[in-house]
Symmetry: C2
Subunit: 123 residues, 2 copies
């Protein structure tokens, strides 16, 4: 039985992105924002996106990405940073745990996906 | 805007386990069951619990555990197997991605936690 007002906030939605059904699940834990973006219903590649605390230059925040599960490809890191940076920044620099299973990771699609993540704001 | 009948099923609840508030979030992806069991609102240590396909002896299914994020301690593996094996078996041998942040991992508490996970059955 789910609580009507759960303490751990979670939101999800489904939208069409350039013809492909795209699902997003966002859950806010105290130490991580968990975001899954999937076009296969899979959790996909799991990446941690962590703000670098070393950076002293506030104008250019830096993020480190690490593939925890799945294929470690250069494009995955680029895509993960692109999708998760704004989440981390808006969530008070909390790291993001990101599940990515994309058929289409074109720049235009990724831009639309950011809006979908934004619509599931739990942070 | 959340869909009223989302395709990715997720359930969560909060219960008291031996005096400690314990939250569970279960989400069913096609290739993983994602379970978070937390007494700190953190995602905690992230462990993958995967059924071994090599085993030919159906009477003793075997599981491998891997810590993806957080402290890798022997007790974590024991606890993860204890909590996630039944989920994987009930979910047609799907692997389980388990987040564990426990103050109390006594055998009695873990037994109660299995019942809480069972109450959030999404598989």
């Amino acid at each position: 039985m789910s609580s009507p007002d759960p303490i751990i906030r979670s939101k999800q939605t489904e939208k069409n992105v350039n013809g492909i059904s795209t699902e997003v699940v966002c859950t806010a834990f105290s130490n991580y924002i968990f975001v899954v973006l999937t076009q296969y219903r899979k959790i996909g590649t799991l990446i941690s996106v962590t703000p670098e605390s070393r950076s002293n230059d506030i104008s250019t925040p830096s993020f480190s990405t690490k593939v925890l599960l799945g294929k470690d490809e250069p494009m995955t890191h680029v895509c993960a940073k692109n999708l998760a940076t704004f989440v981390s920044q808006e969530a008070g620099n909390r790291p993001v745990l990101l599940g990515l299973a994309l058929k289409d990771s074109s720049l235009d699609s990724v831009k639309q996906m950011k809006d979908i993540i934004r619509s599931c704001k739990v942070w």
